[in-house]
Amino acid sequence: MRASPLYPLAGLTGRFGPQIAPSNPRNVGHKEHKENIYYLDLVIYSVAIRQRGGKIMKHNHEFRDPIHTFISLRTDERRVVDSRPFQRLRHIHQLALTYLVYPGATHKRFEHSLGVMHLASRIFDVVTAPENIFDDSVRRIIPDEEAKRYWKSVLRTAALCHDLGHLPFSHAAEDQLLPDGYDHERLTKDIIRSPEMLEIWETMTPRLRSDDIIKLAVGPKKADPLELDTWESILAEIIIGDAFGADRMDYLLRDSYHAGVEYGKFDHNRLINTLRILPLSYADTDEPALGLESGGLESSEGLMVARYFMYKQVYLHPIRRVYDIHLVDFLKSWLPNRIFSTKLKTILGMTDIEALAAIRKAYDTAKSSNYALAKRIECREHFRFFYSASPSDKDGGKLIPGRTIAAAAEASFGRAAIRYDYVPPKSSAPNFPVRRYDGTIESSLKLSPILEKLPAIEVDTVYCDKSILADAVRWRQENAAKLLDLE
């Protein structure tokens, strides 16, 4: 049986498609039709590997993807994708309510996670290729072929799972709506260790250890009490590293594509091809780290510049940020006990869909106690910013001036009319080893003035209710300098 270009699912068996190809694609039976819709985004071309009893068994599957064109995965990885926790990611917006500012930004964690797996896998192949390893200190940490296959499988699975624990609207509500000690990484760990997922790890080939998946999925910062050795740290960096982690590469490319903002683009193919595990000889240490060939330095600069612009233009856009605040206000009021439950069953049953339905319902019912909070989101009645700190505002010695302004504004206008947003400056100078053409290793910051000089971005903004904007601006003009000891 042969797949036709018009009907690529034809000729495939079992749950992956009808057993008998219809002569006319329109004559698909109800059951077959349902299956095809369910796997509509999984375009399966004829990559059949073997035949059994006349049925073709498939082992490689492909997703179409607007960023990476095709993303391939094996049958046992399909079990991860088909699992309930992973399918839930279809209903978690990657950028929360950003679509209220950038209407195209409606993409979800689901496709991002697939993209991260795709990129992480490519990076692994490049950095472990024997022709790309130049030093004995690096050769010593690369495991043998069998172990390499195991770790590649762990890496791909960890990349798929790295966002499983996200709450509705991703990061927007995480800080304030979880009990102390909880964050999405901890929930990710809990999900990876859940009976449903443990069963999948057991049946994968090779069989995967849940602790190894956790180490790479959440990285050394959040894996505690698990400890990562040098090899595991490098693999974790391939997924979530600051300088060129697959997570960062994918979200910049994907978010810019969907938001319609060109700034997020950079030459990721060149960057990946030049990544290497390198000794840190310039820093007097024998511990290798992820770095790159000097030919990829411009691509790395491109990534960091893209990141800078995306933060300025999209992630830290003041209106986008205030919608996060309004969302948290609503969720606090709507959720039982004002926080999300950390029970896995409840978490897995909670997505953006449930929260958005609650917002719409509250807005449709004028008597609802949450009506006003829902209206801010539904009718774009968001707060307006009237103070945003400039560098010179710190000259009086107050390192976070917005905090002082917000406290004084609350005293003047009341707490209900003021909102404050602070994001500390994001790390902007990645220090990694670069292998020059003569084989010497040097710090990226020494070789690249762009990486060294790229400014950090800080948010220190005070918002007020739209109805008092003019008064608040006047108040700021009269009081800010005195409050900040600038007079």
């Binding site: 200190s137 010593r140 940490i141 050394p220 910062k221 894996a223 505690d224 400890e227 990562l228 050795d229 040098t230 740290s233 840190l280 310039y282 820093a283 007097d284 240490t285 024998d286 511990e287 780290a289 560098p391 710190k394 010695g397 390192l399 976070i400 500390p424 400056p425 994001k426 790390s427 902007s428 100078a429 220090n431 040097e442 710090s443 910051l445 020494k446 060294e452 400014p455 950090a456 800080e458």
Partner: protein
């Protein structure tokens, strides 16, 4: 333990940087990471930095972010002063001002920073990694025999051989004893004072 405020933490880091420099340290990020790890533990004050095993031993992502924020705020700056090395961290004029404003409030931690700076300032990254990882292993397994802790160090950092690992563990034993003598109960007061 109480957690210090941002301004005090900045002043603490500036204090450590100044003392490390005065003792001749190159003051790269690794120096500050490892020195602060030991300083936080000896002072028994929660500076707010959680350390995990990562690059060249115990590493704090919180501290990394803090250094980044301090650089963005103009409190510290990068400089390339040593041939072949990565960036060295320097205190700016603004950093000196922040330090002056908060100096009185961190006075009780001075002793710890003095001790750590004298101990670690002349170490290169390779020995900082050994020492800080030995400290980490000892802190986690204080009752294990020296050889067991050395094996643990070697499993975390395979490029540190067993002989060097054992030697590093013994240095930690000595230094912890010395710290008990030279930084007496005053450490316990810090949390209340700060």
């Amino acid at each position: 333990m109480e957690c210090m405020s941002y301004s005090l933490r900045c002043a603490m880091i500036v204090d450590l940087l100044k003392k490390m420099r005065a003792q001749g340290s190159w003051c790269g990020e690794t120096h500050i990471q490892k020195a602060m790890y030991i300083s936080q533990d000896l002072a028994k004050v929660n500076f707010g930095y959680k350390f995990v095993m990562y690059k060249h031993g115990p590493f704090s992502f919180d501290l990394k972010d803090e250094l980044s924020a301090m650089r963005a705020s103009g409190i510290i700056e990068f400089a390339f002063t040593h041939k072949g090395y990565g960036p060295s961290i320097r205190v700016t004029t603004f950093g000196e001002r922040i330090y002056t404003v908060n100096r009185e409030n961190i006075e009780n931690c001075n002793l710890v920073n003095d001790f750590v700076a004298t101990w670690l300032a002349s170490s290169d990254v390779r020995s900082l990694e050994r020492i800080a990882t030995a400290y980490y292993v000892t802190k986690k397994n204080p009752r294990d025999p020296v050889i067991e802790r050395a094996k643990k160090l070697n499993s975390l950092k395979p490029h540190v051989d067993l002989v060097a690992a054992e030697e590093a563990i013994k240095i930690i034993e000595q230094k912890r004893e010395q710290a008990k003598r030279e930084i007496p109960l005053r450490c316990e007061l810090h949390a209340e004072v700060l």
